[in-house]
């Protein structure tokens, strides 16, 4: 799939001027509240008619204001999961799920009903009405309803924003499974860095109506200059790792990445499984020489690649650990005391307990239960 968008649209005093082109996978539209994320998805869905520009999906023109082309939403075959679910209150869950079938020829109905029920675990809800569902159940039904309309593209506008932490943890694994098992590409809107690093393959970073950066998750997340936009407090590196072995005696799991090996509390993952580890910059310590008597289990050698000094006492540093990027946030005082400069060899120290299961993603064999447990821990 390719999605190419180049639009200008004015909403009151807010000017949306966005242009990007992306491939398949899960594309995250990321940015602060009010950055224009929802306006962009609404334009893709056809709920907003932009004042100028073009929207193309897989070579089909959806919008071209210069030629006066505007395909109405019901002919776009783009599924939309809204923040608030928007289930039809007068229909049962089953009727909600099958709503799209009324407008799809039988041959094109695609994703099997049973398969979607299984994927989202909504079989027991079928005869209920939306008024009697919990927030998490509503969102799962909304995802199923969009999937069953046989979409070419699935839009998800902050589908977890209205839910509490426990409900988020309930749904995230379903979205991960959807990403792995369904061939439908997804555009996922979020302002949560954790969700985005966990789910996305590509990030479109929006700021004040403009596209600030487009690229693979690790690339965008590791750019120190984008920290003010990606959110400094939660900023962190994304490390691709493979499960090496489990240490049953201490309840630890060992992971291998290009940067070196990691040990963290026991995971429900099979040996050999690939996953994504999010290492927050504020959890990383730096040392000039390899420390010997230290409790931190993860000590990774690397080289200072980039230093970005802000106005305040905080300095952001990017390390190159054998080709894998790591980020660290230190005080300016520490940086000067250690004499850190680009090219300086250092060791990064990360406590195992800082790497909880919430910082993980990937095709881990875990149900909603495992995640809920992680939340309590």
């Amino acid at each position: 799939m390719t999605l190419a968008l180049d639009i200008r649209h004015r909403l009151g005093t807010f000017l949306l001027d966005a242009r990007f082109e992306t491939g398949s996978g899960l594309i995250a539209l990321f940015g602060r509240s009010g950055a224009g994320k929802t306006s962009v998805v609404n334009t893709i869905a056809g709920l907003i008619r932009p004042h100028a520009g073009t929207v193309m999906l897989d070579g089909t023109v959806l919008v071209d204001t210069a030629r006066g082309v505007f395909v109405p939403p019901h002919r776009r075959r783009i599924g939309y999961v809204f923040q608030e679910g928007r289930l039809f209150p007068h229909l049962t869950v089953r009727q909600n799920l099958l709503y799209g079938h009324w407008f799809t020829p039988p041959a094109a109905r695609g994703d099997g009903f049973e398969r979607v029920l299984g994927l989202l675990g909504i079989e027991p809800l079928l005869e209920r009405r939306p008024g009697r569902l919990s927030g998490g159940e509503k969102q799962r039904v909304a995802i199923g309803r969009a999937l069953l309309s046989n979409p070419r593209l699935l839009l998800m506008d902050e589908p977890l924003a209205a839910l509490d932490e426990a409900r988020k943890a309930e749904i995230l694994p379903y979205i991960e499974r959807l990403r792995e098992q369904s061939r439908v590409p997804i555009v996922y809107v979020s302002h949560s860095i954790a969700e985005v690093t966990r789910l996305a393959s590509t990030i479109v970073l929006l700021s004040e109506g403009k596209v600030a950066a487009v690229g693979p998750v690790s690339e965008v997340m590791h750019r120190l200059d984008l920290f003010p936009l990606t959110g400094r407090a939660e900023a962190g590196a994304v490390v691709e790792a493979v499960v090496e072995r489990h240490d049953e005696r201490f309840g630890l799991t060992e992971l291998r990445s290009r940067a070196g090996s990691w040990r963290l509390p026991r995971l429900d993952a099979e040996v050999g499984a690939r996953l994504r580890l999010r290492v927050r910059a504020r959890d990383v310590m730096l040392a000039k020489s390899a420390p010997t008597d230290v409790s931190a289990l993860n000590v990774l050698p690397g080289i200072v690649a980039d230093i970005r000094v802000g106005d305040g006492p905080i300095v952001d540093i990017r390390l190159d650990c054998n080709g894998e990027a790591l980020l660290a946030r230190l005080t300016r005082y520490s940086v000067e005391r250690l004499g850190l400069a680009p090219g300086a060899p250092v060791h990064a120290l990360i406590k195992s307990v800082a790497l909880d299961r919430r910082s993980l993603s990937g095709p881990i064999a875990q149900g909603p239960g495992a995640d809920a447990e992680a939340d309590e821990a």
Partner: protein, 270 residues
């Protein structure tokens, strides 16, 4: 087979006995008194005609107003067009004008010599003046503001975001209206229809001005009651029709209450 046949004949016998007793009972003096009390309650043929005519006029007025009512309520609630407030004022007019004025205006426009009335009579053979159809038109016009207002309020209460959701699932505008908007405004439509029906049942001023008070043709319940109060000895007739009127109104109210409750239950509104 034989057994059931015997049962049948036994049943028929019992029925025959019961009927016989009933007929004998009717002949007894005691029951005659009771029946004469019921005689008072029974409507005379003229009164029946007025009741039936009123029901017909109200039903026809409500059903014919409905599609226009929904369309105009949609336009007023959702549309943004020039002359919107003018249309709104026009629809509400019969509510504030004296009914006699509305009736007279109808007579001017829809009368046999009126511009619209003459056109409809010449081209479609539809005549309003001094016909029951005219009574239905007058009642429809008088009930229209109530119908439109109830439907409009319920349309404004519909979450337009649900309609957007339906369109992303492949429904075009007509389907969105039929499968989402219409079911969601159904309680409002029912409320509006009952208001319109009740108004039509009670309409007097505009009807009597437009189509007069012809027994069997345009004499509806209110006109009949009015006529009874104008003749000596008409009190009992007026009272009977008043009771019928009260009963119909109560029924309409109860029906609307029941339907609103079932609609709410369907939407799971606690």
């Amino acid at each position: 087979m034989e057994h059931s046949a015997r049962l049948w004949s036994a049943g028929a016998g019992v029925l025959r006995t019961l009927l016989g007793r009933f007929v004998a009972g009717v002949r007894s003096e005691q029951l005659r008194v009771r029946l004469s009390a019921m005689d008072w309650m029974a409507l005379s043929p003229e009164e029946w005609t007025a009741v039936k005519l009123s029901l017909r006029v109200a039903v026809v007025a409500t059903l014919f107003s409905l599609p226009f009512g929904i369309a105009i309520a949609m336009a007023l609630a959702r549309g943004r067009f020039w002359g919107q407030s003018l249309l709104n004022g026009l629809v509400l007019m019969p509510l504030i004008l004296p009914p006699v004025v509305t009736g007279y205006l109808l007579l001017i426009v829809f009368g046999r010599k009126g511009p619209v009335g003459a056109f409809l009579a010449d081209h479609f053979g539809i005549v309003f003046s001094f016909r029951w159809t005219g009574a239905a038109l007058a009642c429809g016009v008088m009930g229209f503001p109530l119908l439109v207002r109830a439907i409009r309020l319920s349309i404004e209460a519909v979450d337009a975001r649900l309609e957007q959701a339906a369109s992303t699932l492949g429904a075009n505008r007509a389907w969105v209206f039929l499968t989402v908007t219409l079911p969601l405004i159904a309680p409002g439509i029912i409320a509006g229809m009952i208001l319109c029906f009740a108004k039509a049942m009670g309409e007097f001023g505009a009807t009597i001005t437009f189509v007069s008070n012809i027994p069997g043709e345009t004499q509806t319940l209110p006109s009949a009651i009015y006529t009874f109060t104008q003749v000596p000895g008409g009190d009992s007739g007026a009272l009977r029709l008043t009771l019928v009127s009260v009963a119909i109104s109560m029924l309409a109210l109860v029906a609307s209450e029941l339907m609103a409750r079932s609609a709410n239950r369907r939407l799971d509104i606690e």
